[in-house]
């Protein structure tokens, strides 16, 4: 079956800055696909190209088989796009915003009320339908923005960092809604800088500086990490990464809040690590081998230190 989103060798530059370089990926129908990466990775450029707002420098890009440079209006009428910044009319009410976009998307008049009801059901915005959009809380704004992009029943949904700056409860509610939509067969492409959200996707592409470093199911990507990762916790004073960096075999030291993640090549056992650390600082620390998180993998990928078996 033809993929809903197909990107082949896509490149885009703005002046001298290369935003995206030879990007290739597919998204199947009904898939929840995540573009993961830090700011400047090229996620927004990719999404804006897919929703026909900017044109690619090179590459074959299509949405539901339609070329993004040629079938601009056709693509716009079947896709929903929620940009990074909340951009609805703050001085119109929730209901007026929904109606406005419904009319611009030429939703049949008779269906508008019914669709609004359905959207209210999952967004719980019904009690606030007469409130001005500008007076909603961050999470509610996000849900209203999503509702407005769903009012015309798009078959593909593009969400650019939809939960950035939203509180944790609203974030999980938002992802709940996305899963509901997925069940209804909507294909969703979402970008996020949060690794925990990446785990909620069917497949992800890890992007960095305009290229994909790894792509596949989240579990598969964490499995890419062959190196062993040890988490150490203990006396704050010794939790200084530069001290551990002196161990000759160590691959990397990452600070994670109140703990450090030390990466050693495959074959290092807990005992080896403990001895190394004791030898270095003359003190017993709490050492624990942990499964690599997406963060570890991401950092490893960026630094080229994931310890490929081959």
């Amino acid at each position: 079956m033809q993929p809903v989103i197909s990107v082949i060798n896509f490149s885009k530059s703005f002046g001298k800055t290369t935003a995206v370089k030879n990007l290739t990926f597919d998204v199947e129908k009904g898939e929840l696909f995540g573009l993961i990466g830090p700011d400047g990775a090229g996620k927004t450029t990719t999404i804006r190209t897919l929703v026909t707002l900017i044109s690619p420098d090179s590459g074959e890009i299509s949405v539901t088989g339609l070329n993004v440079s040629k079938s601009i209006r056709a693509i716009r009428s079947i896709t929903g796009y929620m940009p990074q910044r909340f951009s609805l009319y703050p001085d119109l009410s929730v209901r007026q915003n929904l109606n406005f976009f419904a009319n611009l998307f030429e939703v049949p008049k008779k269906e508008i009320a019914e669709r609004r009801k359905r959207l209210f059901k999952f967004s719980n915005l019904e009690p606030f339908s007469e409130r001005l959009a500008g007076q909603l809380s961050g999470g509610m704004k996000q849900k209203l923005a999503l509702s407005c992009t769903l009012i015309h029943n798009p078959v593909v949904l593009f969400l650019d960092e939809p939960t950035t700056g939203v509180d944790p409860v609203s974030r999980s509610e938002f992802w709940e809604i996305l899963r509901e939509l997925k069940k209804e067969g909507v294909t969703i492409l979402v970008s996020t800088p949060y690794m925990d959200e990446a785990l909620l996707c069917d497949r992800i592409a890890i992007m960095h500086e305009g290229s994909v470093l790894a792509m596949g199911k989240p579990e598969k990507i964490t499995g890419l990490m062959r190196n062993h990762i040890y988490k150490i916790t203990g006396n704050d004073l010794v939790l200084r990464s530069d001290v551990f960096a002196q161990i000759p075999e160590i691959i990397s030291v990452q600070s994670f809040g109140d703990s450090l993640h030390l990466t050693f090549p495959p074959g290092f056992s807990d005992e080896d690590v403990r001895i190394k650390i004791y030898g270095l600082i003359g003190q017993e620390l709490n050492v624990e081998r942990i499964a690599p998180s997406l963060e570890d993998v991401f950092i490893g990928l960026v630094e080229g230190k994931i310890g490929h078996a081959n």
Binding site: V51, T52, L53, I54, S55, R73, R76, S77, T79, Y81, P83, R85, F86, S87, L88, Y89, P90, D91, L92, Q96, N99, F100, F101, N103, L104, F105, E106, C148
Partner: protein
């Protein structure tokens, strides 16, 4: 059509949702017309005058009394010491000092030539010139009366053929600057409201990101432009009618000519201000930038419109530049229709020029806007 309707509806909802916007639209023109109509005046009145009467005779007193009864002058006092007269002008207590020399009466009676001395504050050259004109007028009338009442002049001499000018000022018989200024103010209000509303209205959507949201809907860019133009033109026309109402209520100045013609010409003018507004929106990313650029254009169009500074007084190069300014034509048209009741036939050259520049500006701006949207 349906999409345009909803774009327009949205625009009006946004405008009238905001009470301060409604105030701007209705109250600001009222205040502007009231205050500016009274304040901007080229009439010179209440010229402060100080006298030194060295003669102190019936003749000199009779001369001074002519200034008492004039609304143009206000006598602030008499000064005995000649050397202190200049301090009145220095301090600005008076802008004019008149010295009646000793023997004023004697000279008149003896048919010698009496002189009076005028000291004029020339900083404001315009007012100085105007006040000089008033004084000459008073002196002349005084002289005429002297001649007529003189018992020893023969009738023949009295009836000597003197050429007199008897000016009649048409359309504005009392040369009231209000009549001249007020239509200009209406033009300015229309310029400001439509220019600022359009440029800010579009840039605002850019700023809050809704323009991008509109872009991913299937609407076409021309629909977007029309959706913006219709509400702002309607507001502009509403604005001009409100302003004309105020002008009538406050100053009793009504439109002499055809109202439909005036509205037609106004709509032509609005095309150019909307075009300029759209153009400004394409070169600015924030409302602040748009505001600055709109100010820049506004100041230029006002100063080069002939509203304050007569175009004929400008250097030839600048005079040619003013030809590109639609406001220049609109102010002329508005004054003509307002004060003279001029018919369309006589306004064709101005109308053509205004419409040509307006439409060029408009289409260039719309093309740029569409290209920018991509």
């Amino acid at each position: 059509m349906r999409q345009i309707f909803y774009l327009v509806q949205k625009e009006f909802r946004q405008i009238f949702r905001d009470f301060s916007m409604v105030r701007i639209l209705f109250v600001v023109p009222l205040i502007q017309i009231f205050i500016l109509g009274n304040a901007i005046t080229t009439d010179v009145k209440n010229i402060k005058i100080v006298f030194q009467d060295q003669d102190k005779t019936p003749y000199s007193r009779e001369f001074i009394s002519r200034f008492v009864h004039s609304e143009y002058f206000k006598i602030i006092g008499f000064e005995e010491n000649y050397n202190r007269l200049s301090s009145y002008l220095d301090s600005g207590k008076a802008s004019l000092a008149i010295v009646i020399p000793r023997h004023f009466q004697r000279d008149i009676v003896l048919k010698d030539k009496p002189d009076i001395q005028l000291l004029v504050d020339g900083v404001d050259g315009n007012s100085a010139g105007v006040s000089l004109g008033y004084i000459t007028d008073i002196v002349q009338k005084y002289q005429e009366r002297l001649i007529e009442s003189s018992p020893d002049l023969s009738l023949q001499v009295k009836n000597v053929r003197r050429v007199e000018t008897e000016p009649r000022f048409w359309f504005n018989p009392n040369l009231e600057s209000k009549l001249y200024i007020v239509p200009g103010i209406i033009a300015l209000i229309l310029l400001i409201i439509t220019l600022f509303l359009t440029s800010m209205g579009i840039v605002r959507e850019k700023e809050i990101g809704t323009l991008e949201q509109l872009m991913v809907t299937p609407i076409r860019s021309y629909q977007l432009v029309i959706g913006k133009i219709i509400p702002f033109s309607i507001l502009g026309m509403l604005e001009i009618m409100i302003s004309m109402g105020f002008v009538y209520l406050i100053f009793g100045i009504g439109v002499k000519g055809s109202l439909p013609l005036l509205l037609f010409e106004s709509s032509l003018f609005i095309i150019s201000t909307l075009g300029l507004g759209i153009f400004i929106s394409t070169i600015s990313d924030t409302q602040q930038q748009a505001l600055f650029i709109a100010w820049f254009f506004m100041i230029f169009s006002i100063l080069l419109s002939g509203f304050f500074i007569p175009i004929a007084n400008m250097p030839p190069v600048i005079q040619h530049i003013t030809r590109l300014n639609p406001l220049r034509y609109y102010i002329v048209i508005l004054r003509e229709i307002y004060l003279k009741g001029t018919s369309f036939k006589d306004l064709i050259p101005e109308t053509l020029a205004m419409a040509t520049f307006g439409l060029c500006l408009f289409f260039a701006a719309v093309m740029r806007f569409r290209k920018k949207l991509g």
